[in-house]
Symmetry: C2
Subunit: 211 residues, 2 copies
DNA sequence: TAGTTCCTGTAACATTTGTTACAGAGTAGC
DNA sequence: GCTACTCTGTAACAAATGTTACAGGAACTA
């Protein structure tokens, strides 16, 4: 069953021999919605490959203030974990399942070994880092160049896409946490977006009318 | 002469055999102050190893608005170039020599080959990515959690450290470009920092009194 | 020396974002 | 039903940041 899911997304990415090895040493895990996968300061013992679901990656500073960095989807891995695992360093982020998700955990002992053995693994690791770097740059663009109303609309449409829904079950307060602002600001801007006809507001739910 | 500079910073990082190879295939280049090393959209033919100097990495969006991402110092390499070189993709940043700098350019053909051959190269590449990811996170922290006056003070002290000077030769307008704000805002906040006794303002020069 | 350009300081004002306070609607438990 | 709690909407105000306009000093050129 694991092999089936693995093949589903990774058969075009990895060589058969590598898939065999992953099947042998990888540990399958199912995550409940809102389950914590990685916490700030964790020392990773391996890296997760995401088979299905969506995982939210959040940054937190010393004062406990949070901001959403990006989401992981199936086929992604967490570059930050990779970093932490291979260098025995600490992880600077928090990862939370945004909905029920499935992962395979790869033990860190194999990570370097596979870099030598499999070209597809090297490509995957380098690609993952690149995707993450680009994702971070997009986050920086958003923070540096966009106003709060634009950021909010982007947040809503991005998240809808990741969740594969046109409605989001969330509260204004939750959004405020992700965007590191206050609930009142979010309520104000959501109402504005509703007046522009882009969304429709309900209790605990936001319907997106325009993408 | 190149070998000497290479050994200077990289003899503890790379195996002797790798240093030999780098010496053979690497192309030494000297950069003048303000020389453009990488431009937005460039397709990199290799990666630069920084031997000496300081390089500013800047992000630019479609509308031509800029923001400083971070600085590279000796011993660093540009992860974004690595990404671009190995995957034949485009580079999302601009790199400018902040002062006279020296680099060695490594041709992209070797990058993957060395990953297989040298453990020290694998470590270096992974470390570089990690450093860059962390640098990006720090930039995000700065943008998301700090007010403009704090960001400005951090900018000044960070830059002084990179340049190994206690005074910066720069104008308010240049700072405004790096921080993606307006000259008037910077002048206002600089004056405030001067009143707090942290800096002293001159024409084209800012003296930092307190680190 | 006069003319010109660049850099800095500052005022006045506009806009955006953050804060506090409170009212009312919806929901869950009893 | 009643009660307690959560979520949303909104007003009024405060603070931070951005914009426009202009004046004067410094530096360079002729």
């Amino acid at each position: 069953m694991i092999r089936e899911k693995l093949d589903n997304f990774y058969s075009y990415v990895f060589e058969k021999e590598l898939l065999d090895e992953i099947e042998q040493v990888g540990v399958y895990k199912k995550l409940r919605e809102n389950e914590l996968l990685v916490d700030l300061g964790d020392q990773m013992k391996g890296v997760p490959l995401l088979l299905d679901g969506a995982i939210k990656i959040v940054r937190e500073d010393k004062k406990g203030e949070e901001i959403l960095l990006y989401f992981l989807e199936k086929g992604d891995t967490c570059a930050s974990s990779f970093a932490s695992a291979i260098s025995n360093g600490k992880c600077g982020i928090r990862a939370i399942a945004e909905k029920e998700s499935e992962i395979i955990f790869l033990p860190k002992e194999k990570l370097d070994e596979w870099l030598v053995k499999y070209k597809s693994w090297r490509n995957f690791v380098i690609d993952s880092y690149n995707i993450r770097l680009n994702e971070m740059m997009e986050t920086i663009d958003t923070l540096a160049f966009m106003r709060m109303d634009e950021r909010l609309y982007k947040y809503l449409t991005d998240k809808a896409q990741i969740m594969r829904e046109t409605s989001l079950n969330t509260t204004h307060q939750d959004i405020a946490y992700d965007m590191h602002t206050s609930r009142v600001v979010i309520s104000r801007l959501l109402k504005q977006l509703e007046n522009e006809g882009k969304i429709k507001l309900h209790r605990n739910k936001i319907e997106i009318l325009e993408f």
